[in-house]
Every structure is written in C-alpha cells, then in structure tokens.
Symmetry: C2
C-alpha cells in the first residue's frame, strides 16, 4: 500500500483509520500483526530497524550468539502485510489533544488509534553515575559493550604482571539476580571455567570470580521459593558466588560496595532495575514509580479510549491483585488485546477486559541447568533446560534464525566452544586504558619477554 506523501494523491485506503504503533518489540509487533486483516492502515514506528528477541540478549553479551541471530528486520517481518508500513524514527512525545505522535526529527504522525509499546530500559535507582562503570543489558549495543568488556578483561589479565591487579580484572560482579542476572552469571561462569582455560598461557581462567548480588533474600524473586533455591544451588555448582540480601551502595571503577564491605573488581554489570520509556509520561495520565502507565482493564488509558499502552510500559493488575508480569508473553498478549479492541470498535462490538494467560516462567542458568514453572509444575535441571531451549527456538521470529540458533547451540553443546568472541568497536584500547591504568603501568617495567 502506497501511503500518500506530501499530497501526491490519496489512495482509497488513505481514508481507513490510521493506527500508529510505537515500538517494534514483542508488544508492538504482535499488535501490528494482529491487525493484518483489519480495515485500518498501520504505521509501526521504531528507532531501530529490527525486532530484537530480548530473552536471548544475554547470549550476545556472553559471546554465544551473534546480534543477527536474535534480531530480524521489522520490514521483513511485515513485508507481506499490505496494510502496514514501517517508519524508522524516534518518538519523543504524544499530543493526545491533537492525536499526534511527535518524532525526534520534527515529523508529526497523526493517529486515529495509538498503541504505545516502547518498553523499558535499565535504571540505576537514582545513581545514574553508575551507568558508565556498570553497563546494563537492554539493547544490541549494550550486549556488544558487555561482551567487549568481558573479553577485554581476560586479555588485560593475560598481560598483567601484578597478581592483585590481575585478580581485580578476573572478578566479575553482576548486580541483580532476576532472570537476566542469573543468566549472565551462569553463562560467564561457564565460559571462564570450561571454555577459556586452554586459550590463555599466563592466567588460570578457572580462578575467575563471578559474584551475583541480589538485594532481597533470594535469587529470581519473581519465581516460587523452591525454584529460587534450586536456581541458587545450580549457580553455585557452576562456581558463581551468590550473595542475597546484598544491597549495593556504591559502584566505582575498581570496586563495588555493599554497606561497609568492599569488593574489588574491574567489571560490574547491571541487571537490577528497569524504568519505563519516558514516552509514557507525555500521555498526561497516572504513572507508577517506575514510570509505567496505569492502564484500564482493556489496556487503554483513562479518558482516551483510542490510546492503548501495552507491554513493559503498561501497569495493570490481574484479578488476584498481582501485576501482569513484564515478560515477552505479557507484551504479546497485551498487544494482541489492543488489536482486538480496535477491531471491536470498528465493528461496533463491545470492549473486553484483558486477561493474562499465564504460560509459566523459565530461566536458564547454564548448560543443562535451568528452572521452570508451568502452571503448578516446578522443574529444574536438564528437563527444565530442554523445555527452555525448545520454547526459545520456537518463539524466535524467522525460520532462518531458528535454524541457525539451534545449530549453533547444538554445536556449542557438543564441542563446548564459543565462536563469537570478537572484540569490536573503536574504543578498544581506550577502554582498557581508562579501566586499568595502574595495571598497564605495572607491566611496563617488567615486560614478559624483555628478559629473553
């Protein structure tokens, strides 16, 4: 469908209601696809040109998958959907009075229906100064940054003569033991202990310390307590030092503080908090502490039945008072619900309440280690891991990616190899310098082969 451009003439469809969907994540994309047979024009706006399969992002951060393995161009996903167009751009604010989404480059998109699905990013609980030393994991660029730091730490340690400085480089601290933190810690421990040892000559990578810090009293706080215990045990079996009830009070270039305690490290990764996309606040309705928009039972916002908010940006309670969880399933189901409501409006049907269908929870810890809750059934170990693998491959969008990821995982499982260990980006040397100045100064007077 050719959308009209600057008065180049209107096609008949141009009179159809215009649905603007902001965000090409799980929520926005499922909404756009659910509108494929509806008598509407859909414009999906995203600042990126690809949909990201976020549950596997930690595998990019730990050099097990390539970015392209978990991302698909949004245009390709929607190429056959004639009533949809993709607009690459960043939405800055919504003007509900004039029904317009304003983009960063000045473009104003008029909507008849708006579906806001711009998600969340990581938050440092008022400590934005930590963002430089403790990168979080929400985007592909975050993931390649964590990968670079993780791999560079071993390279710097290999060249480091001073044992103390070397230990700082080989200590990795992950803040936050939700699914992302647990997955990162488990994968890093596996790589350091089982994959890397033979690659290095001077350092013993099996002596790498991986610390997982959690503020509350157990890992995976959103899971049933028995699965938290099992995850805790599996993490320790992989060599992760798990510290619960450990509230981080400061993060520096060379240490993390928990109250009075100081843990020396050159590598801190942040998996502790999220805050909603700032776009939600521009709607002018109530938001919660994390910036999420309080939506009505049908996912629309108070006073604006043509504006929906779905996914991580939305805050909605279930019948039992518990919130709809901020996971892919929640976003997908809400996105589809918003599409159903728009179709209902157009055929003058009544609106319905959103009901979250809880398919369960899955978190992986390592090779053949995971925890799963499916309804009331709690599983852990190999069986949970196999379910995890199947579910994640099934949901990966695009057949090519599914096939490639399965092959890569099979290969990694059989050979224990990790192939994606590339350190890219131009800040390579600067990063090392900025992070370990003394380390490099110490090497200088006694280089490894100077004596030969």
């Amino acid at each position: 469908m050719d959308l009209p451009r600057g008065g180049e003439g209107l096609s008949p469809q141009a009179k159809l209601p215009h649905v603007v969907v902001v965000g090409g994540g799980f929520g926005g994309l499922s909404c756009a696809r659910a509108l494929r047979r509806a008598p509407v024009r859909v414009t999906l706006v995203d600042r990126r040109n690809f949909h990201l399969f976020q549950p596997l992002l930690y595998q990019v951060a730990t050099a097990s998958l390539s970015p392209a393995d978990i991302a698909s161009p949004i245009r390709t996903i929607l190429r056959k959907q004639k009533n949809a167009q993709v607009w690459m751009g960043e939405a800055l604010r919504v003007d509900v009075a004039s029904q317009v989404v304003e983009l960063e480059d000045g473009v104003r998109l008029h909507y008849d229906y708006l579906v806001l699905a711009s998600g969340a990013t990581h938050a440092y609980f008022g400590h934005d100064e930590w963002s430089g030393v403790a990168p979080g994991l929400k985007t592909i660029d975050d993931a390649t940054e964590i990968r670079r730091r993780f791999l560079l730490a071993f390279e710097a340690a290999e060249r480091e003569a001073d044992p103390e400085a070397r230990q700082l480089l080989l200590t990795f601290v992950i803040v936050g033991a939700g699914p992302t933190g647990v997955e990162l810690a488990g994968a890093m421990a596996e790589i350091a202990r089982q994959v890397m040892p033979k690659d290095f000559r001077s350092i013993d990578t099996t002596a790498t310390r991986i610390l997982l810090l959690e503020g509350v009293d157990r890992v995976l706080p959103g899971y049933p307590p028995d699965l938290s215990r099992r995850a805790h045990r599996q993490l320790e079996q992989l060599g992760v030092e798990v510290r619960t009830g450990a509230l981080v009070t400061d993060i520096r270039d060379d240490c993390v503080r928990i109250g009075e305690e100081r843990i020396g490290t050159r590598n801190v990764f942040w998996a502790a908090g999220v805050s909603a996309s700032p776009l939600g606040a521009t709607l002018g309705v109530e938001t919660d502490r994390a910036g999420r928009v309080r939506v009505q039972p049908d996912c629309s916002i108070p006073g604006q039945p043509n504006v929906f908010v779905v996914g991580d940006l939305a805050s909605l309670d279930r019948a039992d008072g518990s919130p709809v969880p901020g996971v892919a399933q929640g976003a997908i189901q809400m996105g589809e619900h918003a599409a159903r409501m728009i179709r209902a409006d157009l055929s003058s049907d009544a609106r319905a309440e959103f009901r979250y269908f809880d398919k369960g929870d899955l978190a992986t810890i390592g090779r053949a280690a995971a925890v799963a809750r499916i309804g009331r059934v709690h599983l852990s170990g190999l069986i949970a891991w196999l379910i995890w693998v199947l579910v994640h491959i099934f949901y990966l969008i695009g057949f090519r990616n599914r096939l490639l990821v399965m092959l890569q995982w099979t290969w990694a499982y059989v050979t224990y190899q990790r192939g994606i260990r590339l350190i890219t980006g131009d800040r390579r040397v600067e990063v090392l310098r900025a992070r370990a100045p003394e380390a490099e100064a110490r090497v200088q007077p006694s280089p490894p082969t100077q004596n030969s």
Copy 2:
C-alpha cells in the same frame, strides 16, 4: 607454555629463540602456525583479538554475513599450539638496533626473529578529507559502518517526500573497480533490486542507481583483459552502471566529481587504494610509494636477516618482474616462507628464495556470477561462481564458520533473503541528520499521514 612474567622464574623453553609475529592476518597467522614444531617461542601481537577472513568482508558490508561468520578468535586458532602465546596490543614501531617492538601501551617486546605482517589499510591518495564521506572497507568496523550507511539510505529515502532528495539517497557510488569494488557493487545491486523491493511501501528500490567508478580503462585491472570484459558485462546485467577511465577529483557530502562532471549522491564507498601499515616505515629500510617494504628474495629486509616482512606490507618482485600480488595467497605463502627460513637458520641450513605459487584469481560479482583464472584457464558465470564458493568455504578458518557460512549462503540462494540487515551503533540518528539535513526539513511540512 607459561612464559615468564616479571621475573616469576624462567621455564626451560624461555631460552629458546623468541619469534615475535606482528599481525594476525593471513601472513602472520600462517607463519605462527608453520612454526608449531620449531624450537622457538612465538608471540603473536595483534590489536584485535580475532583473525579476519578479509575476502568475505564485503558480505558483512552488504548484510549477507555476520561479523562472527568471517572472524575467529586468534587464541582459539592457536590454543593447541603450545609454543605460541597471543598478545593483544598495538605495535607502534620497531627498534631494529635493540631488537625490540614497541607497543602503544609502553610494553617493549624483545625478539630474536621478527615477522612483520601488519598489512595495509585503505588510502585516499592524499585526500584524507574524503575518509569521512567515503568509508573504505578493511576492518569489521568499516564493514558495519558501510552496512549502516547502506541500510539507512533506504530508510531515509522511504521517509523522504522530495523526489530529488530521494534520488540522491538512492544513488550509491563505489570508487575503485578492483575485486572489492566489483564485489560491493554487485552485491548492493542485487540486494536493492531483488531483495528489498517488497520491504518498502513508498520507494521503488529497483530504481536504485549503483555506479562503479574506475580510473583506468577496465574493471579488475589485475585480471586478464577478457575476464575484465566478462566481469563488466555481468555487472551491467545486474544493473550496475560501470564507468571506466573515470578519475574522481572530489567527493562531497552530496556529490562525487569526475573532472567537470558532477554525480549527485549521498552514499560514496571507497575501494580504490591501499597504503601499507605505518609500521614498515619504522624499520629504516627502503619503502615503495604505497609504503610497502622492499624485501630481499628470502622475505627478510636488507641488513637484518632476522627481520622478515610478509603479506600486503611487503613489496617483492617475481622472476618475471611482476610483483607478488597483495592477496591472501601471497600473504599465506610468504608467512610460511619466513617460518621456513627461521627453521633453516636454527638447523644451520641455507636460506632460499621465495617463490610465489600462483593458484589463480577469483572475483565474484553476484548470484551465480563471477570470473576465475586458474593457470591459463579463464572462466566466468555460474561455473566460476561455484569455484569461488567452494574455495572460500574451504579456506574459511574454523569448521563452525565454514558450516554456518555454507548454510547461510545456501539459504540466501534458495530464498533470496538477507537476514543480517541490522542498523546498530548509537550514531544512528546523527548520521542521518548530518547527511541529509535538507531532506528532513522537507519532510516536515508535509508528513505522510498528516492529512489523514
């Protein structure tokens, strides 16, 4: 082998001669591997942690392969070679008098033998100001930058209301018709004409102009003239406008000039010239115009029999007066020769002259389109392309990569899909802005859906 660190004690091997190899490309890596059974200690220095299979770099630039598909960590390649260690760092200069390589971070590596294989980078013939507008293609970061610009141009064109500005965005100029330029032009034409059309709603990507400019009178100047003609024809069949005898005199943000002629474009890519790594000049011996080091027939430098220069950094003529070509085979063979000479020295054998074994030339143009010279046999079209595919898969280092690349190519061939079309990096919006300010200003007053 544990190399001594800051006086932590010397292992018996520490008294073995120390061979420092600078550069983990084809030349350096083949040299290091050829020394695996020699009574030496090898230290391979590279500023990157991976070996790059450069002949396929254009496929990363055109979103057909992921960076990890054509790169392998050097440590993993050398993990089983006990007499080798890898040192990630950037070599700045060589002090031949004291037999030391100085690294950027102040480390000084003493050598008994030095093999310099730091290659070449692209050069702008004294027009360094072109580097910002016309990126070249030598590194992974170059490739992802070209990929980003290539993909962003279509995104910007899709949003552009003004037909003239849109045409500038959809015009791609490649300067230089050596193998890299030919491969880039062919791949870009294929993607624009055969893969992208269905992804866009407002632009006709089959109207994309791809211009390939070459200063001399034919494409692939290093190939036999009949293959140049056949390559020229195959490029035109793909829709590439080939211009020979076209010397570029200026490159701007919005145009390329050939003498008085002005070609309007927002996208220029540089595939015209290379210059050798600046490390060569620090040896204090004769270099040629491109900065390559004139080496002796045994690949060592005049007056320093323990210093070898191999690959793109070396300049050496064959018996017939023609130079050893700057291709992977040349680097591999020279690297192996340097290793043989070191082994000969250690067993007091005589040195020998390097002889280049010419396996032929191969350049690909597109799907089932290529040219090949194998000895005196000249081939083109599908048969040349099949040879090209087999040779490149065979030489890809690391079985995992070979398998994955083969699968991806097969998949791409069958489905005509390109899956790696990710625009990453944070400069996303800035790049667009900097490159098309008027374009965006024009969009503003007449946005596509404002009228609805």
